[in-house]
């Protein structure tokens, strides 16, 4: 058993357990804390795959920024327990079950019927190099320029949208 394998088991166990704990907590703030732990273990898994940049960005963006905003909103709302929120809202429950089923089917299809190794380079050194900042930057600004710019445009549009919604009248 190599050291990497032990680390893989360690991080995947934390990821799986924290994900289960996250959805079973009645208190939304505790759920948020376990989601942060989950993001960390996934960042660890990226590190094992030598994707240092993605691993750090996972922590900066998800654990460092998005979850802080989540906690901010949760604390401001002072959310009641889930039972009060969901009682008598059967349509939402059915919708949630359908969405969850669809996502599950999609992931199951990807795992069992596609070959995930196809995209990998057989050359180990080349695939390690693919995780560096330089490589990702080069790919983003050459091969994937259009989707990258489209994503940037979408973010800009949503920022302006949020501003307009928050500031009801402009003088």
């Amino acid at each position: 058993m190599s050291f990497e394998f032990i680390l893989f088991i360690f991080f995947s166990l934390i990821a799986a357990v924290s994900a289960v704990i996250m959805i079973t907590r009645p208190n939304p703030v505790m759920s948020a804390i376990f989601l942060i732990i989950n993001f960390f273990s996934i960042a660890g898994l990226y590190l094992i795959l030598h994707a240092q940049f993605i691993s750090i960005v996972q922590i900066i963006v998800y654990a460092g920024a998005i979850m802080v905003l989540f906690l901010f909103v949760l604390m401001l709302l002072n959310a009641k327990s889930e039972k009060d929120i969901l009682s008598g809202k059967n349509k939402i429950k059915i919708f949630a079950v359908v969405i969850a089923g669809l996502v599950f089917a999609q992931i199951a299809y990807l795992i069992f019927f596609s070959s995930p190794g196809k995209a990998l380079s057989p050359d180990v050194a080349a695939s390690i190099k693919a995780g560096t900042v330089e490589q990702i930057g080069k790919e983003l600004y050459t091969n994937y320029l259009l989707p990258f710019e489209a994503a940037g445009f979408l973010l800009l549009a949503s920022t302006i949208g949020a501003l307009v919604l928050a500031k009801k009248h402009f003088d």
Binding site: I33, Q52, I56, I60, A63, V68, L71, M75
Partner: protein
């Protein structure tokens, strides 16, 4: 000497030095503030009051470690440790001298940003778990303040990255040896990073999360004993961290004339910035919260974007 042993020795030495610096900063800050405010400061315990720190430590360790009955116990317990852990982790990537850093990470700068963005959880969770209105207000302020200033902090450093062509802190220091210390071409970036650094460590004048006069110490109102001590030491470690990042990124890190060893140069430059942080506390009043936010988003953000665009353009033209 095997690499593993070397790493362990460096880690232990860095940890010991940092803890000594953080503890003695309490004395330095009190004496300096006293000097600037025309008072005496702590001068009773030992020569010049130097042993005051030991007395404070003994006191804080023996204080009753009280957890309020209405608090969320596990979160209340974890919150103060987060700030210490994240700040100490950040020190792992800082090169104190050629070859003397705990790890030589090629995304070192991003690692620092990631860790400093996690530090906010300490304040936010501490305030929330205290289950107290003032604490909650403090942690809400901290969340909004730190997430805003993180944006400019990251953006202001990208000019340095463009000039050095690397996220590795060792490479950045070496690039400053080749080009020039980056505070000259990156004076705007330095300015923004300095202010964002004060806001990230929530020091005066930007200490709105704890603002004694309005929020009775904000997020740590309910904390006592060593748990409060951890927030306290975490703040001083934070100042040390921001000072050493300023030195590494803008003031040539360990570089300096060769009559002193590189580590001494690094520590000297760091000490200067720590003293500037202390002096700022003595000199400036606290702004209002909306002033802090609009100053950030309406002044520092455009400034750091301008700096980024101009740096990129100049580097591109010179190539």
């Amino acid at each position: 000497m095997s690499p593993l042993l070397q790493t362990i020795i460096i880690t232990v030495v860095v940890l010991l030095v940092l803890m000594t610096i953080a503890a003695n900063l309490i004395w330095v800050e009190r004496r300096m503030l006293a000097l600037w405010q025309d008072r005496l400061g702590p001068n009773r315990v030992g020569p010049l009051g130097l042993v005051q720190v030991v007395a404070d430590m003994v006191k804080i360790f023996f204080k009753e470690d009280w957890i309020p009955k209405f608090a969320d116990r596990p979160v209340f317990f974890i919150a103060p440790t987060i700030v210490i852990i994240t700040v100490l982790m950040s020190f792992a990537v800082i090169p104190f001298a050629p070859g003397i850093s705990v790890v030589n990470l090629n995304v070192g700068l991003l690692f620092f940003l990631a860790m400093s963005s996690l530090g906010v959880y300490s304040v936010v969770l501490g305030g929330w778990s205290s289950n107290n209105k003032y604490s909650l207000l403090g942690s809400l302020r901290a969340a909004a303040q730190m997430i805003s200033y993180e944006v400019f902090m990251g953006l202001s450093l990208m000019g340095v990255v463009i000039l050095a062509g690397s996220f590795n802190l060792n490479d950045i220091v070496e690039a400053q040896g080749r080009i020039t210390w980056f505070f000259i071409p990156q004076i705007l970036g330095f300015f923004v990073f300095f202010l964002a650094g004060i806001a990230e460590t929530h020091r005066l004048p930007f200490d709105l999360p704890e603002a004694e006069s309005e929020l009775i110490s904000g997020f740590h109102s309910e904390y006592s004993g060593m748990k409060f001590g951890m927030f306290f030491v975490g703040e001083y470690l934070g100042i040390t961290l921001i000072s050493s990042m300023i030195v590494t990124l803008f003031f040539g890190g360990w570089l300096g004339p060769s009559f002193l060893p590189p580590v001494v140069w690094f520590l000297l430059k760091m000490a200067v910035f720590i003293l500037i942080f202390v002096l700022l506390r003595a000199a400036l009043p606290r702004p209002r919260y909306d002033q802090l936010m609009s100053y950030g988003w309406k002044f520092l953000l455009p400034l750091s974007l301008l700096n980024l665009v101009v740096t990129g353009l100049v580097v591109l033209l010179l190539k």
